[in-house]
């Protein structure tokens, strides 16, 4: 079947137009399928795992993404040079860039993803909304496209407060501002536009009613180039801070089999409205009464895809590569089952005790948890520098159990085993969340993390040990200072101290 501007045919060498943990993920799938791999890297990533693990590696520019991972011409040129006949864009960077998908098509390269047109329609939140509502998919009430700032201000009372200012080209929570009263609207629009311009190069924003106490539930889809589209079930992604997901799980405690089936059908209808091919995700907002509304479609592989993989047994990245090669889906809807429970914690380089301020620096230790039911997808290693050029995610820690309780216990155990030093991480946040009553009972929504969760809400149990450790450290520090000051100190006296602490 001929898809508009999309090649689906056999290929043997894949260029991964990405970095970090997702580049590793894609490389693994390629290697397992016997495909040759090409990595690209910026100045900051010479020693990154994806560069060392791929069959070939090409340097494409300085650390700034605009001059490397976002440089379409350089990437296409590298594909030609290496003889790569397919490109997997991962997530972020060029994954939802229709111009890039089109450039691949025109260069005769298979783009592992949907057609440029599908990316365009779904990439613009406003056209996505109107396209899917035409096929009966419910959408959140909001403003129509093409409104000036003044028109939006006038329309705001009809949309209803509280509302959200959202970037049309946006994603990942950027270019988004909540507004509770009309007085704050002008500032919020200005601020959202600024952030949107910096992040996406497009400052178009729109207004959308903010559904309070909502859940963010998304459906994973796979579609081949023969018109087959299936749902792989839902993911619960309500635990977010500033619209950035922190913890995801599959399945969701809030969804039963009937609702799952219904949402799956609606999601498939939305994808079919744009002739979608390959992996994609439909994001829904769900209110307390279990009404769900289309939020947006992500026309790419998602960060949190592992939780779906673990409960369905489907290797989503391998399916992506197969679909791109022109194969039919390897399973039908009735073959899809969800077994057990998976939880993913995103480990970020940020300080949960300092307002989650991003933390930069060099990783000195990276000791990964392992054992039954534990998976870590990471792109960092000791000696790697976390810089402000890329986002602060260090890794994804995913735990699987036969039940949700087992998955939680496993996650607690894995979080304790995980050791990262050199930068601050949000592991303490995850540890507290895994003990939170509301999390354990499944009664949370998208406002939970920001409004009703606290790291410091309890009696910390190790005050005595903390006092002892600090004192020992202080003692060691002053002893060492005294030794250095003592004139004619022989080497042996210093080694005596080090011998104690070895």
């Amino acid at each position: 079947m001929d898809m508009p501007e999309l090649h689906t045919r056999r290929f043997s060498k894949v260029l991964i137009a990405n970095r970090g943990e997702i580049a590793m993920r894609i490389l693994r799938a390629c290697h397992e399928l016997g495909l040759s791999t090409v990595a690209v890297y910026s100045d900051a990533d010479r020693n990154a795992p994806h560069v060392r693990f791929a069959d070939e590696a090409y340097h494409i520019g300085p650390a700034a993404a605009r001059e490397s991972y976002l440089a379409i011409e350089k990437i296409i040129e590298t594909a030609h040079r290496s003889g790569a006949d397919a490109i997997h864009p991962g997530y972020g960077f060029l994954a939802e860039n229709a111009e890039f998908a089109r450039a691949c098509y025109e260069a005769g390269i298979v783009f592992v993803g949907p057609s440029p047109r599908a990316i365009e329609v779904m990439g613009d939140k406003l056209t996505a909304r109107s396209t899917v509502s035409k096929v009966g998919v419910p959408v959140v009430p909001g403003t129509e496209p093409g409104m000036s700032d003044q028109d939006m201000m006038a329309e705001a009372p009809n949309v209803g407060f509280p509302l959200l200012v959202k970037a049309s080209a946006g994603g990942g929570g950027k270019g988004m501002r909540p507004v509770y009263a009309i007085e704050d609207l002008a500032d919020a629009i200005a601020s959202a536009k600024r952030e949107a311009l910096a992040a996406f190069g497009d400052d178009t924003v729109y207004l959308e009613r903010m559904i309070t106490e909502s859940r963010h539930i998304e459906i994973q889809l796979l579609a081949d180039s023969y018109g087959n589209a299936i749902s792989l079930g839902e993911r619960e992604c309500s635990l977010q801070r500033r619209h950035q997901k922190l913890i995801e799980e599959a399945p969701s405690v809030f969804i039963d089999e009937t609702l799952r089936k219904k949402m799956g059908e609606v999601a498939v209808a939305a994808a079919e409205a744009v002739g979608y091919v390959n992996a994609g995700t439909i994001e829904f907002l769900m209110d307390r009464s279990k009404n769900f509304y289309f939020l947006e479609m992500n026309t790419r592989l998602q960060v949190e895809h592992p939780v779906t993989e673990l409960v369905t047994g489907v290797d989503i990245v391998q399916e992506q590569l197969r679909i791109a090669r022109g194969r039919r889906l390897s399973l039908a809807q009735e073959d899809v089952t969800m077994k057990g429970w998976a939880i993913e914690c995103r480990v970020n380089a940020e300080d949960p005790y300092n307002n989650y301020m991003p933390s930069t620096g060099m990783i000195t230790t990276s000791q990964l948890p392992t054992g039954p039911g534990v998976r870590v997808d990471t792109g960092v290693f000791p000696g790697f520098h976390i810089t402000p050029f890329y986002d602060p995610m260090i890794s994804k820690l995913i735990c699987y159990g036969n039940t949700r309780a087992e998955a939680v216990l496993r996650m607690r155990r894995a979080l304790e085993e995980y050791r990262i030093t050199g930068v601050k991480t949000n592991i303490p946040f995850h540890q507290r969340m895994m003990e939170s009553h509301r999390f354990l009972s499944g009664s949370f929504d998208t406002e939970f993390v920001e409004n009703r969760f606290s790291l410091t809400d309890r009696e910390p149990p190790h005050v005595l040990e903390a006092a002892i450790l600090a004192t020992l450290a202080y003692h060691e520090q002053s002893q060492r200072a005294a030794q250095i000051v003592r004139a004619g100190s022989r080497e042996t006296s210093q080694w005596k101290w080090y011998g104690r602490t070895k």
Binding site: A198, T421, H462, I468, L469, T471, R500
Partner: protein, 170 residues
Amino acid sequence: MKYYARVDDQEFIIEIGHENEIMVNDELYKIDFQKMPDSGVTSLIIGNRSLEAVVEDKDGSWQVLIRGDLYDVEVEDERARRLASARGDLQVADGEIVMRSPMPGIVIAVSVRKGQTIHKGDKLIILESMKMENELRAPRDGTVTQVSVEPGVSVEKDQILVVISDEHSP
């Protein structure tokens, strides 16, 4: 050697004696601590309980991270203690807080001016980094004595942004 360690409102009198023994508030503990060579992690065995922690020196006080909980500990030795009480229990710090940039970035907005009285939690600076806007807020009440940046300026990590003095200092 005798030390005074303070965590929140709890105080501990700690005496470091012979190897592997310490006294905490007159109770004797057998301890062993080892700093892991490859990381900054300290392994503490106290009695026979085993704990791991990350201990960091932060501007004179200590931050100890144990199983996800962060403890702020102030430690003084006897000499410092004697000096402090001789001064009549005045604030040791000069009452100034220097707000430094936590990472490289660009200043988007400055919400305060020199001489302005501010309260804990007030927005001071909006900094853009890691593709997102980050708000820096006042850690306590005070008066702004210095604003070192303006919108549009690029800053390095630890670069001084704003200086706040204790509202009680002259």
